[in-house]
């Protein structure tokens, strides 16, 4: 009797150990999610109802942060700047990366050389790219303006003209990221079976018709991915204006993340900054979901 009980106990102990093991293995992740995702999201929501400069005690502020957000012209300007950025960045990224991938897919030699050269800016820090482009886009000493003047054209205020600066940054960001999307499109293009093209050629389809009716539908998932990734990346725009323009001229390159950063770490408005972050994150998720819906409908 007692031995049977002991055996049972032993069995149960072994069983629970085997049962416990998976939980033990995923526990670092669960702890991490609790500390760095669940708590921050809840705390962020909590902060949106408070005023806090980190040093003095927190003060309950009701809906003050929210009403301030809706009246904050600078925040809406920053959102507008970010949207302007995306408006040029996304189409440019799609067109240039698709074109380059299409050229690379023409059974040419030295594919790896071209691919590597397009890819170089992708792996290098955004800090490097920004410092480099600051020199290229400078008004008096910039290489691009020097080049324009040497062929008899006028200088352009790439970074000093308020109507221009955010678009210059969008072109720079495209230059930095496009190599990644070239690779993604190249993979996508190579999944199109060559028989499709051969068959449509027999039917007398033009190159454009082939592209529109065969290539485009086949690489639709890649297009979707490029749009989503560029959108999320664009909404995170920070280091480029931080280094290049500090948000100027006339706050036309102030990105939303740069403004959130400034509210928190220059003015120490933790509660308000958290409110901006919370609102902005929900906005981003909404845009991405809408894009998803819209593109899925198109397929």
């Amino acid at each position: 009797m007692s031995t049977a009980l002991a055996m049972n106990k032993k069995k149960a102990g072994k069983l629970s150990k085997a049962k416990l093991l998976p939980y033990l293995m995923v526990s670092p992740y669960l702890l991490f999610v609790l500390v760095f995702v669940v708590f921050p999201v809840l705390f962020c929501l909590f902060l949106t109802f408070h005023k806090w400069n980190i040093i003095a005690p927190m003060q309950f502020a009701g809906m003050d942060n929210y009403s301030r957000l809706f009246q904050d012209r600078l925040f809406w300007k920053a959102i507008g700047n970010t949207l302007k950025f995306l408006l040029l960045h996304i189409p440019l990224q799609l067109i240039v990366s698709l074109l380059l991938a299409w050229l690379l897919n023409q059974k040419i030699r030295a594919v790896s050389f071209f691919r590597a050269s397009f890819f170089m800016p992708v792996i290098v820090s955004g800090v490097v790219v920004t410092i480099l482009w600051q020199q290229l886009l400078g008004y008096d000493t910039g290489l691009i303006n020097k080049l324009l003047m040497s062929i008899g054209l006028n200088k352009v205020g790439w970074l000093v003209d308020p109507d221009m600066a955010i678009y210059s940054i969008a072109v720079m960001a495209t230059w930095k990221n496009v190599g990644l999307y070239v690779i993604l499109f190249l993979v996508g293009l190579q999944t199109v079976p060559p028989q499709y093209y051969e068959a449509s050629e027999l039917d007398g389809a033009s190159r454009w018709q082939q592209f529109y009716h065969i290539t485009l539908p086949m690489i639709n998932p890649t297009i979707f991915m490029v749009v989503i990734l560029s959108t999320i990346g664009g909404f995170s725009l920070f280091i480029e204006p931080y280094i290049m323009t500090g948000g100027g001229p006339l706050n036309t390159t102030l990105s939303a993340v740069l403004y959130i950063y400034k509210q928190a770490f220059q003015y120490y408005n933790m509660g308000y900054s958290a409110t901006l972050g919370f609102f902005y994150a929900i906005m981003i998720m909404t845009v991405v979901v809408l894009q998803k819906k819209f593109i899925e409908k198109e397929v």
């Binding site: 293995m25 995923v26 670092p28 800090v127 909404f235 280091i239």
Partner: protein
């Protein structure tokens, strides 16, 4: 082949070469400019007429760039090791072990991946303040020690391995951790390389977070130090010095890329191919 075919090929090569030049030329100019004396920096020329290392000497005198290189390497290596460790244990549990809540954890992972960082940025900074981690290496490593992306990559890789491999190792009395790292790891090298490269590059290039949690110049990462140098006015009068700092920041990654080009490109391409 006929004439029009050749012309098409020539145009293709010309367009690709022009594009390649647009991507490579700025880097070559940058290296040239970093070696140029002050009066030559603004030139468009490929290479300065009187190359000098003066810019680098000036920069080393102004900022602890060597220390920041060490900091960046240490932080990136620690982060990468931890991500590989946590990624493979959690990924293994999700792929090969049966337990209640497994599917729920998978959904949580997918959800956290789509959560924009802007929402957690300020609270995470406050957590660092409360844990007294501001101005420590821990602040740079711990918030990146677990990666949802790495977990999903490992989960997928382990799912592709046969159950027989695991059963055989268990019969031999292998512990679960030994099983993961000694028996299964050698079979998923491409995944390990991909996760390692992406984590390392991501950590190396991260700049917003270090700007927030590190104020002590001796603990700054390289991109952070170079950023503050570039905007802080200390390099303002000397363009060449600023560019020299950018060159030093770019070189380690560029050299690594030249050696492991194929791995880099395959890894980066797989970021998009996961679904």
């Amino acid at each position: 082949m006929n004439g029009s075919f050749n012309i098409k090929r020539i145009i293709t090569y010309a367009a690709l070469s022009l594009a390649a030049l647009t991507f490579i030329y700025p880097f070559i100019w940058m290296i040239g400019a970093s070696l140029a004396p002050l009066h030559e920096v603004g030139n468009m020329k490929f290479w300065p007429a009187h190359p000098t290392i003066n810019n680098f000497q000036l920069m080393i005198g102004k900022i602890p760039i060597g220390r920041s290189l060490f900091n960046s390497l240490l932080v990136a290596l620690l982060t990468t090791s931890l991500v590989l460790l946590t990624g493979s244990t959690v990924g293994y549990a999700l792929a090969k072990l049966q337990f209640r809540g497994r599917q729920l954890i998978f959904y949580i992972i997918v959800f956290t991946m789509s959560l924009p960082f802007q929402i957690t940025l300020i609270p995470n900074y406050i957590t660092m303040v409360n844990l007294r981690l501001v101005d420590t290496y821990m602040a740079l490593v711990v918030p990146f020690a677990v990666s949802a992306f790495a977990i999903l990559m490992f989960r997928q890789a382990f799912q592709g391995l046969p159950q027989a491999l695991i059963d055989a190792a268990r019969l031999d009395g292998c512990s679960e951790l030994g099983l993961i790292f000694r028996i299964l790891w050698p079979n998923i090298k491409p995944t390990i390389i991909t996760v390692a490269i992406l984590t390392f590059i991501g950590s190396w290039n991260e700049v917003l977070w270090p700007l927030i949690v590190i104020r002590n110049e001796q603990l700054m990462t390289m991109p952070q130090l170079v950023t503050l140098f570039a905007v802080g006015g200390r390099a303002d009068s000397q363009l060449g010095v600023k560019i020299a700092a950018a060159v030093l920041l770019a070189l380690p990654v560029m050299i690594a890329f030249l050696f492991f080009q194929k791995h880099f490109i395959q890894s980066m391409a797989s970021t998009g191919l996961k679904d």
